[in-house]
Amino acid sequence: MTVPLSYYLVLSAILFSLGVLAFVVKRNIITVFMSIELMLNAVNLSFVSFAAHWHRLSGQIFVFFVMVVAAAEAAVGLAIIIAVFRTRETLNIDRVNLLKL
């Protein structure tokens, strides 16, 4: 009994959409940032399942690079969040509004 590729892809699509939803809906900056991590995880699942499908390693390699990118963005992003928090004392994205959107 095997699982078709499309099952994995559908799961990846669901996770990705939930990540996009969380990005739009959540108001806490840190949670918004976590939703991006969820999106990247969905991307990784998609890569690994395609790699399994094609029996090629490059998909798995891409996953490592996505992880590095996620780590780098998390480090810089959390540092920016700390800097913003220092000057404003809020983590609500609607209150970070000196620049008009």
């Binding site: 590729l5 499309s6 990540g19 976590m34 399994a52 780590a71 480090a75 004392e89 609500n92």
Partner: protein
Amino acid sequence: MHLGLFIAFAVICVAGAISLVAQRHPINSALSLIVVMGSLAVLYLLLGAEFVAAIQLIVYAGAIMVLFVFVIMLLNAGAEERTRGSRVAMALGVPGLIVVAGVLMYTLAGHTAAGQDQLAIGATYGPPVAIGRSLFREFLLPFEVTSILILIAIMGAVLLARYHAAPAPETRAIDPDEAGDLLQLAGTHGSAAGARERRRAEHRMREREVTR
């Protein structure tokens, strides 16, 4: 067996993701995300990617999420407020999500490209040796560029979050909320001292209103 495991962990995964959206406290969202990552690691094992599964747990769930939890604790982030913006986002976001997810699922469910056979449970095709060889041969340049990326991430994190003792005088003339400025100057100090400073600043504000 394979299908059963897939369904079990896929359900856990989606439940974790929904919980990330539904939870109001960031720490709960972070823990939900760790659940998602853990179950994804199992799915990677099912797909035969053992090394990716290990790295997923060590780097993603282990390092990146610890960083998130750490920052949540450091900033003492409380439960999220419901604002008008969030309700608007909710009203637009949920139907939008359903449409996007529907389109993606519809197209991908039909995606049955000519492919190889699925792997049996326990079979792997990406041993660490092969991955290491691939990283250092075919993907040598991206791998080296990655080292620069990590360097600037470290440098940027230190640069941006570094504590600065003496805040510069506020030169932005256009700032409408003067109160915010005073609070901000106070807020740049540490937590306990910051609270004291802030109280003093608020006091000063009140005094000024009286004299006006």
